[in-house]
């Protein structure tokens, strides 16, 4: 029964996927002009060449034909088209971008869930305690602070410490020895790297392990920022849920018949309260990608969003479509997973 549900659910995704990609295709093609416009003013390129270029990229054909061809090549070969500006297959162009963004987003996703549950449970169990008030206050702050502003503040903070740390590095002594392993680059006075994804000068000489450590250092600040926003909203949701279930009759019954407090909280209340968290997996992923987007700009992280903005500006149709397709697919996978998971943890949900 579960299998037939899964299959039906997958089949249902197809029209949604087609609708979403078609909508995106139409929107992008509705923008005035096309990719070849930038060459129209170039004296070295004559109109005939322009026309040939249009033909080569099939830009002279009706939009729906272009869409059908594009979709067919995805279905048939998994080929997302050719990038106009890179003159390379879209798959090859966006693969590293998606990977880069995912390294940022997935770490944040895992951290968000790992942190949400204990914080929200604590906050709900000790409602109105000092800790709960601090959590509530912080989650409001986390909701209200714009991502790009938060990362700017963190960077400013790191740079604020820079002169002091440089001095420490120059002076040496015990302070220096303590600080060196827990800072990213003491000689330059940086606790954390403030931009980019890797230490570019030395990356060639690094071993695999060193590259990993280097990446982790670069991930710290953006991950903190991206996690904060999603954590803040999830904690508020889960706390509200927990409060409701802690007051529910079946929880009181469980406590009355002698279930230890831990069991009451985790087995009876939390188990039920988790539902919206699970059904939110699908929407959390794209919202994290979006939230990470502006952060990627500020710290020059070579991810999806900066590339998307550049491609939109250059009217590089298939890069835009490729990135949209990948994120739409991710979103659908997320929604699908959350539905299936919800069925697994909530026995009240029946597949039929």
């Amino acid at each position: 029964m579960v299998l037939s549900y899964v299959i039906r659910r997958l089949v249902q995704m197809i029209p949604t996927f087609l609708g979403a990609t078609l909508l995106a295709f139409l929107i992008i093609q509705a923008a005035p002009g096309d990719f070849t416009d930038r060459f129209a003013l170039d004296p070295n390129i004559d109109p005939e060449q322009l026309q040939r270029m249009r033909e080569r990229f099939a830009l002279d054909q009706p939009v729906l034909v272009q869409y059908a061809n594009w979709m067919w090549s995805i279905v048939r070969y998994g080929y997302l088209g050719e990038s106009f500006s890179y003159r390379a297959p879209v798959n090859a162009v966006i693969y590293p971008l998606v990977l880069n963004s995912m390294s940022l987003v997935l770490v944040s996703l895992v951290l968000t869930y790992v942190l949400t549950i204990p914080i929200a449970v604590y906050s709900a169990v000790r409602q109105y305690s000092l800790g709960d008030k601090v959590v509530t206050f912080l989650s409001f702050l986390g909701l209200a602070i714009p991502n790009f502003f938060f990362i700017l503040i963190l960077i400013t903070g790191v740079l604020f410490l820079q002169p002091t740390l440089r001095q420490v590095a120059a002076e040496g002594g015990t302070v220096e020895q303590v600080l060196r392993p827990i800072t990213y680059d003491l000689d330059r006075g940086l606790v954390f790297p403030v931009g980019g994804m890797r230490t570019s000068q030395r990356v060639e000489q690094m071993s695999g392990w060193e590259r990993f450590v280097d990446r982790v250092w670069h991930l710290v600040l953006p991950v903190v920022v991206v996690t904060t926003a999603s954590l803040a909203s999830l904690v508020r949701v889960l706390r509200g849920q927990m409060l409701e279930f802690l007051r529910a009759d079946f929880v009181r019954t469980a406590a009355a018949k002698g279930v230890p407090p831990r069991g009451v909280v985790y087995k009876h209340a939390l188990r039920n309260a988790l539902n919206p968290l699970i059904s939110g997996i699908g929407t959390l992923l794209p919202s994290l990608v979006g939230g990470a987007g502006l952060v990627e700009f500020v710290i020059r992280w070579p991810g999806i969003t900066p590339a998307f903005v550049a491609a939109v500006k250059a009217q590089d149709l298939y890069i835009v479509m490729g990135l949209l397709t990948v994120s739409a697919v991710l979103l659908m996978i997320g929604n699908f997973l959350s539905d299936v998971l919800l069925g697994l943890v909530d026995p009240r949900i029946r597949y039929s």
Binding site: G19, I27, P146, G280, S287, S327, R350
Partner: protein
């Protein structure tokens, strides 16, 4: 989640993020209340009890007043820059205001010293030295750049020009005589007053959210109401459409739609474009909740009665079904506004929103960042617009929370 059979939705099974919807409880008072209290007065007294929400309301009123009277409060015009020669005030720090006489040490009328730019030969940085010889008093109600005063300034420029309504005044709340300059919160790289530009920026940052939320709300109420109340094919089509919209990440949808319009257009046009786009991509979640509410409301006896009396479908929908969603609508509205404020700030930060010389808080941060992140430690005042985004969003969130508690006591958390 089509295809799943779930127990009837309780207020617990709600989607994450966004406003938490809930079934309205028409006529159910939140507490035992004395006889003769109207629903409205219960809501009001409940709202007043939420101190944070009340404070937020006050704070927002203050911000909106600042935006409305920006021309009057700010000592300089929105685009007025100081960047040449002796009057170069690029990145001038906040002006120190002196309250005591330097000789006698007695309290005196506040004054400032003019500053003289001097370039450090080694670092090439411009520093500002106070010229102690000529103290300049701060004057109130001084003449400055002319502007169109408030009630009239709410009329769009195009209409104003056509009608010839362009009376101007040039009184400013405070100011100092040149060559002295007064920057309460420092200057940006063009020597423009950050304090003033934050007030001017508030006009765009604070109205864009309200306008876009209104569009999203009207669309969401109408389409959701139609889908839920009429049902049938229309319902299927609309809900599929919502699903399709939800499949494209909203940031990307926003960026793609923004590309339909040229980057460099005049601020009014950009404003309209942004409001429309934001409104049009955000009605989906509202429509979905309203549809659910309409589904249950149409079974209510008063709705059945209205239909039995022969009211037209449109009338039943508008007069009987949709009012039942008011509690949800108000809360959703107040919680959508801050998310749009954040989005506008982000777009302007990317250079795709409001463009120079107009100002918005996001744009000011973008301009600040262009000066180099490395230098924020030397001019932290450039980060102030971010603080204002933060305060406005926080206040709207608290306001929404307070409204929800007052209107929809079931959802109190």
């Amino acid at each position: 989640m089509a295809g799943m059979q779930q127990p009837p939705p309780t207020p617990t099974g709600q989607p994450l993020g966004g406003p938490v919807p809930g079934a309205p409880v028409p006529g159910a008072p939140p507490k035992a209340t004395p006889l003769g209290t109207s629903h409205a007065s219960i809501v009001r007294s409940q709202f007043r009890k939420h101190r944070l929400a009340m404070f937020s309301l006050f704070l927002l009123a203050l911000l909106y007043a600042g935006a409305l009277f920006a021309d009057f409060i700010a000592p300089y015009g929105e685009g007025q820059s100081f960047r040449r020669g002796e009057m170069n005030r690029s990145y001038a720090p906040p002006t120190t205001i002196y309250w005591t006489d330097p000789e006698t040490g007695r309290l005196t009328r506040p004054f400032v010293y003019p500053v003289v730019p001097s370039r450090d030969v080694q670092t090439l940085r411009v520093t500002y030295v106070e010229d102690r010889a000529s103290p300049t008093p701060i004057r109130f109600f001084v003449q400055g750049p002319a502007y169109v005063p408030p009630p009239l300034s709410l009329v769009p420029v195009g209409i104003r020009n056509q009608l010839g309504w362009n009376w101007r005044v040039s009184t400013h709340l405070f100011g100092v005589e040149a060559p002295a300059t007064i920057y309460l919160w420092g200057a940006d790289q063009f020597g423009r007053d950050v304090f003033g530009r934050i007030l001017f920026g508030a006009r765009i940052s604070l109205t864009i959210g309200i306008m876009a939320s209104l569009i999203a709300l009207v669309l969401g109420l109408l389409l959701g109401g139609i889908a839920g109340y009429l049902g049938g094919v229309l319902d299927d089509v609309l809900m599929r459409l919502v699903e399709v919209f939800a499949t494209i990440p909203s940031l990307f949808l926003l960026l793609a739609l923004r590309a339909l319009f040229p980057i460099e257009i005049n601020p009014t046009a950009i404003f309209v474009v942004l409001v429309t786009i934001l409104g049009f991509i955000s009605w989906g979640p509202i429509a979905r909740v309203v549809r659910g509410l309409a589904l249950s409301l149409r079974e209510e006896e008063y709705v059945q009665a209205a239909r039995a009396l022969g009211a037209r479908q449109a009338r039943v929908l508008l007069r009987h079904v949709l009012p039942g969603t008011a509690a949800y609508a108000i809360v959703a509205f107040s919680l959508l506004i801050p998310s749009f404020i954040l989005t506008e700030a982000g777009l302007s930060f990317l250079g795709l929103g409001i463009s120079e010389p107009a100002s918005s808080w996001g744009l000011m941060l973008a301009v600040a960042q262009e000066g180099g992140i490395q230098t924020f430690t030397q001019r932290p005042w450039m980060l102030l617009p971010g603080l204002f985004i933060f305060i406005a969003v926080l206040a709207f969130n608290f306001l929404g929370d307070g409204l929800r508690d007052a209107l929809d006591p079931k959802l109190r958390t």
